[in-house]
């Protein structure tokens, strides 16, 4: 199980994938550390984090099955 991670917009240029399944991470800070190791270009990218579609600004605990989205600034319309 673990965490489901989604990448959007310009972040997919850094990751070359749009989704990771079954990532082990107990909170968003640990998840970010793992992702920044995996995809160094993410370190300098500006992005927001949503946990289960709710935007979070501070380090947030994660449990198995949670969906974490990494989203660059929106540019719809």
């Amino acid at each position: 199980m673990g965490i489901n991670v989604l990448f959007f917009g310009s972040l997919t240029d850094a990751t070359a994938v749009v989704e990771l399944n079954g990532v082990a991470a107990s909170n968003t800070a640990a998840l970010q550390e793992f992702l920044h190791q995996q995809y160094p270009a993410l370190r300098t990218a500006r992005y927001f984090i949503a946990v289960n579609q709710q935007m979070v600004r501070e380090n947030t605990d994660l449990k198995t099955g949670d969906v974490v989205a990494l989203m660059p600034p929106f540019s719809g319309g």
Binding site: L6, F8, A50, Q53, A69, F74, S75, G76
Partner: protein, 147 residues
């Protein structure tokens, strides 16, 4: 518990221009309406390094966008006296000159329709997780940034 209906706003490809007239005509039976305020987004041929933009490719976090859109809709109906509100946004590729966003707000009076439409357009741009990639050619593209 209040049942919630999620409205889909996404259309694959450009929004057909004919939809505008068709949607206006659907409202001719709502005889309490006095004002429709409509906003359309059209893809621009902006000049970029490597050439002019040919089209925009839209992607979205659709589930989150639709949930957020429902909240925006609810808040605007609470704030303004509105009869209807309809929003359509493209996903996938939209060519230069084509319509990628169609926002349609109706009310008895002009002020509510105009103010709500303007606020709705701002919120769509700022709060919906949608991304546009400006395509110049097969090799050259730029991630769009809203002003």
């Amino acid at each position: 518990m209040k049942e919630k209906k999620t409205h889909n706003i996404f259309i694959e490809g450009p929004i057909p221009a004919q939809k505008i007239t068709d949607d206006v005509q659907k409202h001719s039976g709502k005889t309490g309406i006095g004002a429709h305020s409509i906003f359309l987004g059209q893809v621009r041929a902006d000049a970029k390094e490597g050439g002019a933009v040919n089209g925009i490719e839209y992607t979205a976090y659709t589930e989150m966008a639709l949930a957020k859109m429902d909240l925006i809709r609810e808040n605007l109906f609470a704030k303004y006296s509105l009869t209807c509100m309809h929003v359509y946004h493209s996903l996938g590729t939209v060519a230069v000159g084509e319509i990628c966003l169609f926002v349609f707000v109706s009310s008895a009076h002009r002020k509510a329709a105009i103010d709500a439409c303007e606020e709705l357009v701002e919120q769509i741009k700022q709060e919906l997780p949608i991304w546009g990639k400006e395509i110049v050619s097969g090799q050259v593209s730029y991630w769009k940034e809203n002003q």
